[in-house]
């Protein structure tokens, strides 16, 4: 009996050990590497474009007759959904590092990597947007999608100055 419980105990220890190995606290061996952008470029990165294809949709947001779809870490598609039988992609806003969206009135809030940005959408009918405000470093840095922590060589002070992580891509 005692022997069995020892085996069970050993088994449990092995299981827990493998848990730790798989966890985000283990040595970083993410299969992803970061894409970096210098801050000056980041702050000029939000631009209206004509429609582009949807490739890697992240999140969805619905307001009035519009559906917004974020393209993982890249931007926001604007879909005119006045007729749900015939939705029309009206344009695309490049927002490096973007995942999430929310709107109040005509203002779109997005995460532009670590910054929160408020964008005036009232003139999208004529293909114009205006960044009304940027709150720098409102959010933590983007971490690898597979849950590993930021590798040391990419941490601030080690990587190039004034650079911001805007995406993670497979190595």
């Amino acid at each position: 009996m005692k022997r069995i419980s020892t085996f069970v105990l050993l088994g449990l220890v092995t299981i827990f050990a493998s848990c730790v190995e798989n966890s985000r606290w283990a040595d970083p061996v993410s299969v992803y590497k970061p894409v970096m952008m210098d801050r000056a470029s980041l702050e000029k990165s939000i631009v209206w474009h004509s429609p582009v294809d949807i490739k890697s949709p992240a999140k969805i947001y619905y307001k009035d007759n519009y559906i917004l779809i974020s393209e993982h870490f890249k931007g926001v598609h604007i879909v005119d959904n006045a007729d749900p039988k015939n939705p029309v992609i009206k344009g695309y806003i490049s927002v490096p590092g973007c995942v999430d969206m929310s709107m109040k009135e005509n203002i779109l809030y997005v995460d532009n990597a670590v910054d929160l940005v408020a964008i005036d959408m009232s003139k999208i009918g004529i293909g114009q947007i205006e960044v009304k405000k940027r709150i720098k470093e409102a959010f933590p840095e983007l971490v690898p999608p597979d849950g590993f922590s930021l590798p040391h060589r990419y941490t601030k002070g080690v990587r190039p100055q004034n650079s911001v992580i805007v995406n993670w891509v497979k190595k």
Binding site: K59, N81, P84, M101, M103, I107, V143
Partner: protein, 251 residues
Amino acid sequence: MKSLIKYTAVAALLALAAACSKGGSGVQSDPFTGSGTGMGGSMARFTITNDHLYTVSDTKMSVFDISTASNPVHKNTLDIGWGVETIFPLNDKLFIGTQTGMKIMDVSNPIDPFKLSEYQHIRSCDPVVANEHYAYVTLRTDNMCTRGTNELQIIDIADVTKPVMVKSYPMGKPQGLSLDGNNLFVCDNSVVKWYNVTDPKVLVTKSVTTVEGTDLIARDGILMVIGPGGLSQYSYDTGELKLLSRIPTTL
């Protein structure tokens, strides 16, 4: 008081202007109406209640005052625990989906949220939606939650300080979900399941439709499903799920 009158007047003017532009347009629809807020999916990490934007990211919640929409002002950042994934608003409460459970936060003082309760489950990835009586949570196994489970849990939240599980239903690998009245839609692997949730102890399956979704929004009789295949829309107000349109993704 004076500023209230001013804001009301401005709001009224804006509403009038919006109404005018609507009347004047032809087939093409107008841009955003300039009032109110929209609706995110259950996987959202941003949400708005009245004049505040709440964001969550892993361990922190941030609060921004957006009483002037174009001028968000950072008001607070709180530590709210580990593995925070989603945020869902209901009146003056926020429901936070984390990898270990659901937290209910009180935001009656908008810039100073505090935790009312926490409902814990085994480690899984989970978004949450809720109404006044019940919260609906999907739990799924994922690369970050390898030892999780796959199920839909219905939690009685009549007393928000003491959430109690009513029943759990086994699922394949559920992700986003959306609630409209008694209609609950759940993305589960390669299908979307539609339930009538009038009796949370006995969910009635209304349909199971093949579409790979990660998240969805059910509003105004339209179900909008987003997933690796693109955007698919269905109507559900006739009692059956009917495909309206699809915008596919390209590689």
